[in-house]
Assembly symmetry: C2
Homo-oligomer: 478 residues x 2
Amino acid sequence: MAKEKKVEQITDMEVDFAQWYTDVCKKAELIDYSSIKGMFIYRPYGYAIWESIQRQLDARFKETGAENVYMPMLIPESLLQKEKDHVEGFAPECAWVTYGGSEKLEERYCIRPTSETLFCEHFRNVIQSHRDLPKMYNQWCSVLRWEKTSRPFLRHREFLWQEGHTMHATAEEAMAETEQMLKVYADFCENVLAMPVTKGKKTDKEKFNGAEATYTIECMMHDRKALQAGTSHFFGDGFARAFDITFANKENQRAYPFQTSWGVSTRLIGGIIMTHGDNNGLVLPPKVAPIQVVVIPVAQHKEGVLEAARAVADRLKACGIRVKIDESEQSPGWKFAEYEMKGVPLRLELGPKDIEKNQCVFARRDSGEKSFVSLDDLETVAADLLEKVHQGMFEKAKKNLTDHTYDAETLEEAKRLQQEHGGFIRTMWCGEEACELKMKEEAGMSSRCMPFGEKSIGNKCAVCGKEADKVIYWGVAY
Amino acid sequence: MAKEKKVEQITDMEVDFAQWYTDVCKKAELIDYSSIKGMFIYRPYGYAIWESIQRQLDARFKETGAENVYMPMLIPESLLQKEKDHVEGFAPECAWVTYGGSEKLEERYCIRPTSETLFCEHFRNVIQSHRDLPKMYNQWCSVLRWEKTSRPFLRHREFLWQEGHTMHATAEEAMAETEQMLKVYADFCENVLAMPVTKGKKTDKEKFNGAEATYTIECMMHDRKALQAGTSHFFGDGFARAFDITFANKENQRAYPFQTSWGVSTRLIGGIIMTHGDNNGLVLPPKVAPIQVVVIPVAQHKEGVLEAARAVADRLKACGIRVKIDESEQSPGWKFAEYEMKGVPLRLELGPKDIEKNQCVFARRDSGEKSFVSLDDLETVAADLLEKVHQGMFEKAKKNLTDHTYDAETLEEAKRLQQEHGGFIRTMWCGEEACELKMKEEAGMSSRCMPFGEKSIGNKCAVCGKEADKVIYWGVAY
């Protein structure tokens, strides 16, 4: 009963996917709304997922040699304007500070929508010689973009992210960094978040404002829409020239350094929800779940049950597993539903009969599968099951991606496949923006990426029929 | 020679303490200036100290049951105005956002100077029953206060901090939380940062805008000025009433919850610099030093030296010590000066003769003391020396605090002691704000705190001579 009541609170995803998504965000207590449209409150459970992502990504960044810094949140308008393409892209969605206290400012400042300009100003101060290169910086912060529409985690006016900014002596080094960071993101998504990705290059139309090239990881959601989950940009020396950043190279000549930037945001949490969630709520990848195992004592009023449950919880904690024991007076059924909603990967049930038999019950959140486990094997089985949950989640998501990636030879076919199945539509493309625009207009799909190392499917552009040597993915994107 | 050259870069603290401080911030590469006055760039070495503080404080907060969240950075003007004392205190130093993109906003938003109002708005949504209490939240973020003057770490327009905000069912619980968090701060300062503190209560004049009571930890700097290093506030139910936050208590009656907030900021880094630094630069407490041991190979071109130095570095890393080996082509003298400037607690020197004798040289940053150590004892001696450096730093700072805390019975005596020695002047105080104002006007000192549990020194107010039962500390504050 209790369980049904809790589950009733969310809409089925087959009925209304968008509503299901919002329900999960609210009922799993990930997020709350504030009084400013598009600015959200990250609640403890949602923020704990971000902390877990941060901790693990940060360690990976540092392994590559990146160092963390913190830049000011405000950018003078004149500074933002130094790089033409960049300001054109961002100025329309900046929030502007015009007063400091009661004083009108001489120049207005925008709250950073991204920090390339601030990093460039600083790089100009700290880069003089080739010995100062590479500079590999990252910052964890929030940025602000004054969007018209919003949705929890997917599109906020203010969102949390990290932005890496690096400077290198040569274009080759900068390109290697751009590619390396895309690999770091892809590996993290697949091996930590259990989210399979498609790696590739963005078209010129879709690349970052001011970049020479943008690389992306694209994921497929349950509703078969695409989510751009992370990007890595190669800037060439464009910003360096605009900001007059030079260094003395080994031949003691002035040269411009080459730049990259790369970022992921709390959008990843939206990706987790829409990749793994189900009609009972959230399903969290074990490696970022704030609670990996929830211990539910059954018939907890009976002698010895709570003590035994606590002992089991302590043993799991001792081997580094994140455990919560729920000793509250709610019924086991209510508790089952509650932690299913919150996506806890493993539930451990322990009642008087289990204690008698020196066993417990494990229930997997991803598959619902239950198993009786001897308490002698508690630690090894728990660790093994967490790994299996991760694998199970990854394979399920991978199947969704593979099953719903379709090849098409014409725009009509692409359009039909998208309408019938959703997903990614793979075609050849001639490289003309006109064809991209036509695909968008007629089939409602934007280009997602030109994937790395995939076999071509013919040699004609699906849109114009002219010769084409580029494989491209199309999709309906968040 | 090289060493002298490096050291020449900073002013002696006896010559000009303020200039010495700025020199250290710049030359130790902690901070850089941005193009907006009062907004600073936290460089990798400075930010790494903050990350170390964050990691350790965060663990201590979580042990008390606090959970991290993230609130929006913007506060609608109408929301800020809900609590009268609070808005009066903060509105004059708010930065105001008036445009979103090209659109003028209907209501202006300030960038958070602190987030009580935002937390209250959220508490109103999530607190309904006594079962929802206590709520113990913390956030790590930056805040903005449009100050007229600025100084690295001590006074920024934008600074990094944490702000804890908690709600409790009873005044007693909230008061216990206020006191507990002050203890957490004091313990952290003394046992991690090696900074002795004086704990006490602020006068009404000096308390936080909107608080019923503010508790503080006050530290004494090298120049004998006071630094307020952390505060913890008890709000009573004032904000709860202003924001209409109520809960059903155990008797099922509506009641107002009781609130606290508490915070420390990157100001702590300023405190570290001015408590421990010397004329060779920074001196970092081992527990937050980004590099705890720097390994300097001597005569590194000779066969076997680099290999031996790397082996030593690896052994120290393996036992969890943060180690850097400097293999660059700079001279050992240059390297010695460089890592002294950066305040690395221990330097390990290793040359051909040491290798022959199976030994190395350790030099302590705090005392300059050198010792020859058998490589057989490397790990234990390193750990032991780091502990000794911490102790040595704490005792030196404690002596500064004790030696420069003076008792006075009259305003004249207090004034003379401050002029002659600086430091804290301890007197009795009647509790009248008029006397506080007079002390400020005539002796240039503000009240720092009414210390906990200190013996009274007479029974007459040092300013007005009337009966007094409060011990109070006065000082010149940063």
